[in-house]
Symmetry: C2
Subunit: 231 residues, 2 copies
């Protein structure tokens, strides 16, 4: 396994190089964590497939918490700053991290971004990862917790098929539940998702939400607020 992204060819990456990469990232993540803890900022690593609705959920959260909490975000993307632009338009101070061809954020990229950003002025700081249901969960960023987003349009088989990211997350947001009502074109068994996710991770919190309609957002916000007390 290539520990750079938890993938690749075990025969061609020397173990020494793999260890060097992992330990380098872990050292940087520890450093980031010390920063966050010293400033009393709760840092969340928000992960999910392309189009699962990570940015839209932060836009919706901004509406929910307005005037009650100070949000901030860095947003990872291969080639554009569009997500960070959207977050700023929603009132969340944000900057983009353009990764080029990298399929995930690492602790060093996050640390560099912190230097360009008044993150100490926030209560709740989101690190919106690159859209990918595999590699991001292999890289500690110094966050207090990981949250994974799954859109109902992706199907209810995803926890079983992509177990690593569900096993490592504190919470699962099942997004776009508005698509389950009305035309009812999508087959999605929420109970199957619950059962499969809890089989991997018995303490995972699961919130069915719709960034579009706002349904479920207050339950997620309540949980986040509880996490703040623990940071």
């Amino acid at each position: 396994m290539c520990e750079t992204c938890g993938c690749g060819d075990p025969e061609l990456v020397p173990i020494e190089v793999s260890r060097q990469i992992l330990s380098g990232n872990d050292r940087q993540a520890l450093h980031n964590r010390e920063h966050f803890q010293a400033a009393g900022v709760l840092a969340i690593n928000l992960m999910g497939s392309p189009g699962s609705g990570k940015t839209a959920l932060l836009e919706a959260l901004a509406k929910t918490v307005r005037g009650r909490l100070r949000l901030g975000a860095v947003s990872g993307d291969l080639a554009t700053d569009r997500d960070a632009d959207r977050l700023r338009a929603a009132g969340i101070p944000s900057i983009g991290i353009t990764t080029g061809s990298a399929c995930h954020l690492d602790a060093r990229l996050v640390h560099r971004a912190l230097h360009d950003f008044p993150w100490r002025d926030t209560d709740l700081f989101f690190i919106e990862n690159v859209g990918n249901l595999v590699c991001p969960s292999s890289f500690e960023l110094g966050e207090d917790g990981k949250i994974v987003v799954l859109s109902v349009a992706e199907g209810d088989d995803k926890p079983a098929k992509y177990p690593g990211i569900f096993a490592k997350s504190k919470a699962l947001l099942v997004n776009k539940i508005d698509l389950l009502t009305g035309g009812a074109l999508i087959d999605f068994d929420l109970e199957r998702v619950r059962a499969d996710a809890r089989r991997l991770n018995k303490s995972i919190e699961i919130f069915p939400v719709s960034a579009k309609t706002g349904e479920g957002m207050s339950a997620w916000y309540g949980w986040l607020h509880g996490q703040l007390g623990k940071a």
Copy 2:
């Protein structure tokens, strides 16, 4: 950049190791291609995000081509053989490649699978990649062409945000177009997708399709049939 999956940390992966990995995969891909060409089999590398509908499109294609073409597939997945099971149930001889934590298929994994599978008895052989819009496009598998699937539920900004995979694909299947009619809950501008994809890749063929309703499947099949003549 870690050339193992086109991602990672440029400072920590020695260039020599990166080159070794890439050239090792390219050599294996060339070998796979020689196999496919000698047998007159058209091999397609089918890529897309988790839940974009890669397996469902092959199930739908099986209905469209029944009795006219012999299909076969290998199906990459982190942790299960469910996609291969579904394909077999749809009448497509298939085996699964379980990648563990690897976020993409590589040429060696495909070559190993060929040894366990009567792929020479097919006309059109699909290599269904792991659900991921980033890394799979960095690895040649020996295919005749790459096809990328984008579900309308993922949003119309994806070609601009994940350019590499769209730049390298011969065709783009815009799937789940059934979700654009009826309740009209999804905002998706097909013309924006067309324009962004063609800016990256002026020769890319674009097929709006629905694996669920069958809409657009005959146009895609027609194009595939034309590719067979070129193999």
